[in-house]
């Protein structure tokens, strides 16, 4: 009883200030969605390649309990992993497609440039990477669908000479907007 009286008295004093007009959760929440990746394994004796894999866009919001209002993508990255051939200093050309709409042209970069995760939109690589703005819009349109679809990610390209054995990790970074 004494503890209840004491606690209740404290709460009453707090209530006085709460009545001063404190509103919480006044704006929609913006979250970074879980990064979603797909691994494309390239293994060919040729010097050209064309491989694809899928990404389930729903993976960006699977951990959210809140009601999702919309999603946007703010970054797409590439990373070369498990490279056995060619050498890291070998230049290559590559084209990245999402559902058959070209997102990016990569020309004249070496594999070394992607041995750490690299954004396709980074200013430092602007002269080597051309972004198709229509593809960015197309991806945003897919992210507005409910339920979120699974999209096909295709990588095509060529190197001076084969064989080619490496993985390309494509990662999408999204933001999730929830209802207030």
């Amino acid at each position: 009883m004494k503890r209840t009286f004491f606690t209740g008295t404290v709460l009453m004093v707090i209530l006085f200030f709460v009545a001063a007009g404190c509103d919480v959760s006044v704006n929609p929440l913006v979250f970074d969605g879980s990064p979603i990746s797909t691994r494309i394994e390239i293994d060919t004796e040729q010097n050209t390649f064309e491989y694809s894999n899928s990404i389930n866009l729903n993976a960006a919001v699977v951990d959210f309990d809140d009601v999702v209002d919309s999603i946007s993508v703010y970054n797409v990255t590439l990373k070369v992993e498990n490279r056995l051939s060619p050498s890291a200093e070998t230049p290559f050309n590559a084209y990245l497609y999402i559902d058959d709409v070209k997102l990016a042209d990569i020309n004249g970069l070496t594999f070394a440039a992607f041995e750490s995760e690299q954004s396709l939109f980074t200013d430092e690589l602007l002269e080597y990477i051309t972004i198709n703005l229509n593809s960015v819009e197309s991806l945003s349109t897919k992210l507005a669908q409910s339920p979120l679809p699974t999209v096909n990610v295709k990588v095509a390209g060529n190197v001076e000479e084969g064989p080619l054995t490496f993985d390309l990790l494509v990662t999408l970074y999204t933001q999730v907007y929830t209802t207030p």
Partner: protein, 306 residues
Amino acid sequence: MPLYTKKIVSRASLIFLLVVFLFSSSSGQNSIEETIEQLSSDNVRGYIQPLLDGFGANINSGFPGSARIRSSGLTFRVQFVGMGMLVGDSEKTFFATPPQPFPQEPVETATIFGGEGTTVTHQSGVRYKFQNGQVDTRILPFAVPQLTVGDFFGTQLTLRYVPLPSISDFPEVNLFGLGVRHSVSQYLPVTPIDIAAGVFYQTFSIGEFMDSKAMALSLQASKTLLLLTLYGGVQYETADVNLSYTYTGPLPPGDTSDRNISLDLRGDNRFRVTAGAGLALGILHLHTDISFGAVTVVSAGLGFGI
């Protein structure tokens, strides 16, 4: 520092506001927690800094203001003190840096007390939006009970103690504070005013998420005219917060960072000037004051005793 470090700050900040907004809706409480989870380790500090400043300034407020401490006599007073940081424009925005691939230049955007977060657009067409503000308030409130006893050789002791047990999902909350004030004017020749110096130390913890320590050194002066006491003072203060949490959410691909997080934060308020007034009506004692420092804090108290 990776994305997941935001979660510890989010939980502790949520609990900050649970203590002071105990009647907020449950959806509001969860939103504050999840909101702060999504900020970068650098941006999260700017986003919640006003909240830390408010907490630190509040907890270092509301101490007895009258410097009149007798060489001997009996003072025994129970007070209920409410305080609140005034939220102005300077508490509503800060400069944050967007993530890659956006230009790494600071952008002015909303704090937890602000409006909508700023959206930055890359030349490729992709956009990034900073977190929106989540608390619309003119004042950040706090409240404590305190006991003041004295007067022993011109000295008074002030005690604050709030043990709140764990309730449902809310963790245990503990506040303990001890202050000592000593009359300086008793050593001086006849003075028209009373002068006292004080030191106050407080600890505040919330479950296993947050530990904070606050310290204040003050010099006070007052003048009593019948029932009315006018007082003022200067104070140096600190408020340090440690947030600890084990992140259990998803990590970016290939990220093997340590999930045990410990983050040390400090309120920016260091120095304040206070002016106030008190009214003694028998065993009923009222006081109110305003303090100016890095932030502005108002407090008011209701006391019973002698």
